[in-house]
Symmetry: C2
Subunit: 278 residues, 2 copies
Amino acid sequence: MARTHRYLINGDFSLSISPLDRGFSYGDGVFRTMVMRNGLPENWPLHYQKLVADCAVIGIVCPSAELLISDLQQLFLQDAIAANSVEVAKIIISRGEGERGYAPPAITMPTRVVVSSAMPSYAAANYMSGVHLHVCATQLAQQVQLAGIKHLNRLENVLARMEWRDETIFDGVMSDQNGNVIECTMSNIFARFDDQLITPDLSRCGVSGITRQRIIWLESTLGLSIEVEPLSMLRLLEADEVLICNSLYGAFQVQRIGTKTWPQHALAATIRKALSHD
Amino acid sequence: MARTHRYLINGDFSLSISPLDRGFSYGDGVFRTMVMRNGLPENWPLHYQKLVADCAVIGIVCPSAELLISDLQQLFLQDAIAANSVEVAKIIISRGEGERGYAPPAITMPTRVVVSSAMPSYAAANYMSGVHLHVCATQLAQQVQLAGIKHLNRLENVLARMEWRDETIFDGVMSDQNGNVIECTMSNIFARFDDQLITPDLSRCGVSGITRQRIIWLESTLGLSIEVEPLSMLRLLEADEVLICNSLYGAFQVQRIGTKTWPQHALAATIRKALSHD
């Protein structure tokens, strides 16, 4: 495999992960993915706030922003100052090493990992006409205690992503066991009906991304009413327009889901512009 | 933390886990825990069969039995030949390293980890009078695609285990979202009603352990009828006797769940003897 990644573990380039790390043993941790522009993390206050909140849900005290910023600087700043560099940072916080067994040690030292990777090169067509989505057979289980957080238990997303190999498909739309659309494997989703924008309720499953939150905050800018509510697959397919979003690409219009297609609209481009992703 | 563990990664004592390993990124793998007696794994055919089957569910080709046995021998045999040694082996198989993103590489090389740890020292009272169980508030989400397999997405078990610190509590009983008892955090469960032994249906959640399977196979030996069916918490508490089991301790009677207590019966000892765990 091409070694396109560099990483820092607990601030050290020479460390690696112990197999006793509870991130490896149990997926006992959380993560974030963000754009690094000229060596600086985009929307860092929101990413750090979400990291702290997600850690707290599973009882981890998130490492300080100072430590994480220092890691990001070590990993990104030196090669980034010169050019208009755009890279991707992934931050993983695990509960740290433990003994065998589910009970965490009385005192845990979270493991912090920062990984740098190349920014994906998105096809021009994604911006111009939109993206195609697969409809995933893999459903999201409902677990109120973990809903919304970006934890390391991501087997459902892995199985869903393994459902297609067609490279013209950008992402796959996932439903819960009641047939409500929740999200895509790596994106949140919005559906427009006239001047109302609906995004699914994530109180029982799904990952509540910061770009979804930023779009919700654009309500008055966009002149749309934005509602968080259940959204069936049937209703999604009747939308006037469908959008997906994440921190890396901002927002893309959906051109096709299965056999249903939509004409091009301007909303995704407007949102990208408002999110400064153009 | 006391370094009571030794481990071997892909047959090598000097390796460690990359943060790009999908076991760490996504909990994308499976595991097994077994007793090593005099350097040999107990019930190895069943453990290996289950490892292969669990890998297959998530699309991993399990490393060969020869490789894993060679790992176990390297890790355990040298210090085990002399005495009547009893230790614990944990085998973890992850999908291996990947790029950022949920799609596995076209060719993956599974990571195999074997960890040795000390056998837990169970209190004599567990054998004599039984164990106490906590009733977990954390519920198991229903996910048919992952039900029964011992994958690395174990945050529910971690959260459930974090519910108690009282060391007199041996394990916690977990229910699904319909109020049906499924298992304990590290054990399967049986309830006896007269001459019928019930163990919960694990087709929607839970881990189907090999000791549970071995007890089911003891049906004629025990002279009991053994049924796999839904078991509500209310019905569990009305059982004549409750047992829990796993590969390390075999079987223990449950003496107490919350405020409900049971007198001592002989079945757990009989099952331990039949399983050769005495």
